[in-house]
């Protein structure tokens, strides 16, 4: 007999997501993803100056401030066909990459590792054995006996206070938790170290962006950073050198800790390489532009249809027509007025029409985007698969290295097919992070070299002609493809639509009633105990949901507790 589980809200994510599953025979047989907040930022932007849109859109979400700022200026620049000075591209790229590294580390350690790591079990670990295990896996300097004893001590005294604080909502002792106490302690130590190391990435964004969490330096046409080699108030050599030190520290952690931990979790939970594939249409966009027009990129992107790696088609630049013509959004199952079929974002409408949660009708504030009529998964897995197929050498290197580590630990050959899974999305995120931390160093060098040539230009002034212009800005954000679509008329915003990564992934059923990526990935996910659906959370968290921008607020009553309702 099938049971219905409702988890509302999903915890340890940004924003408010509700997941409903039907479970039969210990597996999910039907699933619904529902964004429980309404987003209306598009309405706020109508009639405004396009040069102000970036500052407003970066307020959509507390996690992805910078990504919206950058995508917004790219959209307006695309509408004006405005070139961006090289220094501005490099500075934006550094911000993008530092933010991505920050986001991936925080997502793995602080938002999702607790689905796999049992912190309470770590108390039973032998710190010396843990250190021996850590040292066998990597050369990271903080896997020592001294460090593991200190962490064990700190954790014990924290738990003794009787308040688990940040660890309160964990499924401690759940039968699906499989790691040994030593692995749990090692992961907990890295959780704490990650809290330290993520600060370095944030400092880079803070210096280049003039401020965090909301950067101040972006402008349509470039960046507002003045470059000089002799002044304290602007971007100096001294500050650039400090940034390089932090990049090196981040690279050490990402390659010697994050990548290794993900491989270890993947090996110990090898059965999860077969869970949660779902939607095998993968979409990513190229990013890290290397020229002023946005035709050359350090990270390639494209589209893979139906998991057929031979079908890969590359998306080439900011003016790519294949990309621009492929995107549509349906509201058939979303709480908006519809009836016009799926609409292209330039024609997109966001008029709310709330009904109750209707299984076969409308049930979410998230729209349902499609690429040439098909739902598509976005995020690090799509990014890594597309870069791999585009022949991107750094991606091939880190992907191969990670799969070899997993194979060695699991004592069985694990190939790239294993990435089409819940645990595969975590592995891809770590591979992507390693690629991006190397690019961070590369873009730093490119900026230094360019300034060395005497180029200090950072801004091209935009001019807005009479009449109508349309533009799309895209960005391969940490959670995947983000695009802003703007229609400008006589220098004012006439229409604005944000199609964000979580909209792609958390999409409800589309015009043809096909499930979105979360919904598809949940099918077949095992559920040992319907009252404690940890496995459902694992699959949903693997996408790194960020609902705040997929939809936006107005759930007035903040809930006090997580409801897991089983009917």
């Amino acid at each position: 007999m099938s049971k219905r589980i409702t988890i509302d809200p999903i915890t340890r994510i940004e924003g408010h997501l509700r997941i409903d599953c039907e479970v039969d025979g210990g597996k999910v047989t039907k699933a619904w993803a529902s964004g429980q907040m309404w987003r209306g930022v598009e309405q706020i932007l109508l009639g405004r100056d396009p040069r102000d849109a970036w500052a407003i859109t970066q307020r959509i979400c507390g996690v992805c401030t910078t990504v919206h700022a950058i995508t917004s200026v790219r959209a307006v620049e695309n509408a004006l066909q405005l070139e961006v000075p090289l220094n501005a591209q490099y500075i934006r790229n550094l911000i993008i990459l530092a933010h991505a590294v920050h986001d991936h580390i925080v997502h793995f350690y602080h938002l999702s590792a607790l689905d796999w790591v049992d912190v309470v079990s770590a108390l039973k670990a032998d710190p010396d054995k843990t250190a021996a295990l850590g040292e066998s896996l990597s050369s990271w300097h903080l896997n020592s006996k001294h460090e593991m004893r200190a962490v064990h001590q700190r954790l014990s005294s924290y738990v003794k206070t009787g308040q688990l604080g940040i660890f309160t909502n964990g499924y401690w002792g759940h039968p699906a938790m499989k790691l040994s106490p030593e692995v749990n302690l090692l992961a907990t130590a890295h959780y704490l170290q990650a809290l330290e190391v993520q600060r370095k990435a944030n400092k880079i964004v803070s210096i280049l962006g003039s401020k965090t969490p909301h950067i101040q330096n972006v402008a349509v046409g470039g960046v507002a950073n003045a470059i000089a080699t002799d002044s304290q108030s602007v971007l100096t050599v001294e500050r650039l050198l400090a940034i390089k030190t932090w990049i090196d520290e981040l690279a050490d952690f990402v390659k010697n800790v994050y990548l290794v931990d993900v491989a270890a979790v993947g090996a110990f939970y090898a059965d999860w390489t077969k869970v949660g594939p779902g939607c095998l249409n993968y979409l990513s966009v190229p990013d890290i532009p290397l020229d002023t027009k946005g035709t050359q990129f350090a990270m390639p992107g494209g589209y893979i249809a139906g998991g057929d790696l031979g079908s890969f088609k590359q998306i080439k630049g900011f003016n790519d027509q294949y990309w621009r013509d492929g995107v549509e959004e349906s509201v058939k199952h979303s709480w908006y007025k519809g009836g016009k079929g799926a609409l292209h974002p330039y024609k997109g409408e966001t008029q709310p029409e709330y009904t109750d949660f209707k299984d076969d009708g409308k049930y979410s504030w998230v729209k349902s985007p499609t690429f040439y009529g098909k739902p598509a998964q976005v995020g690090p897995l799509s990014r890594v698969l597309c870069m791999y197929l585009a022949g991107h050498e750094p991606t091939k290197k880190y992907a191969t290295q990670t799969l070899e580590t997993v194979s060695a630990l699991a004592k069985t050959k694990v190939g790239i097919d294993a990435l089409h899974s819940t645990i595969g999305r975590h592995a891809a995120r770590a591979i992507s992070c390693a690629v991006q931390v190397d690019l961070l160093a590369g873009q730093w060098q490119a900026l230094i070299d360019n300034i060395g040539k005497g180029d200090v230009k950072t801004f091209n002034k935009p001019t807005f002609p009479k009449g109508e212009q349309m533009g799309v800005g895209f960005h391969e954000a940490p959670r995947g493809v983000l695009s802003h679509w703007v229609v400008i008329n006589d220098g004012k915003i006439k229409n604005y639509q944000c199609v964000v990564p979580t909209t792609w992934n958390a999409a409800p059923r589309n015009e043809k009633d096909e499930p979105g990526p979360y919904e598809a990935a949940l099918l077949g996910t095992p559920v040992a105990d319907a009252e404690l659906p940890l496995e459902v959370l694992r699959t949903v968290h693997s996408f790194d949901p960020c609902l705040a921008c997929a939809v936006h607020l107005t759930d007035l009553e903040t809930r006090n507790t997580v409801t897991v309702k089983v009917v």
Binding site: G40, R59, C61, Y158, Q198, K203, L553
Partner: protein, 168 residues
Amino acid sequence: MTSARAQVVVLGIGNILLSDEGVGVRAIEALRQRFDLPADVNVIDGGTSAMELIDDLSRAKLLIVVDAVKAGRPPASIVHLSGNDVPVFFRSKLSPHQIGLSDVLASLELLGEAPQETIIVGIQPVSLSLGMELSGEVKAILPEVVDLVVADLRSHGIEVQSRRNFPA
């Protein structure tokens, strides 16, 4: 860029796209306009962010959080919490943002770097609808909110100078 760690942090949080939801941010903007603060007071527009704030809040002597709170009070009333009421505030989740901030503070606790003292200045919102303007009622009490923050700073021995064109 701050090199030396600020001893005192005044943190305004909220989403300015949702009218009164952004009152914390609007309050610190008003604070900056009306007063000159010493260099070791870091006034932060936190928006709706979370982990990005860890570094700024680490080892602060005093943290004053200004935020919209749902405290079951009449609309546009002000709540001032200090001492033992602060942990209760976070446990009972009165603010739409506490998830982010409470995680940051819990993480700092785990690192042994939690602020020594935390004060919450909360405002019961009137409207959370879409828009970048505060409701008339909340706008009207904004000066009072700022005065409360200034009084807290002064009672902790911090010199706060009102700017000439903005009589306190």
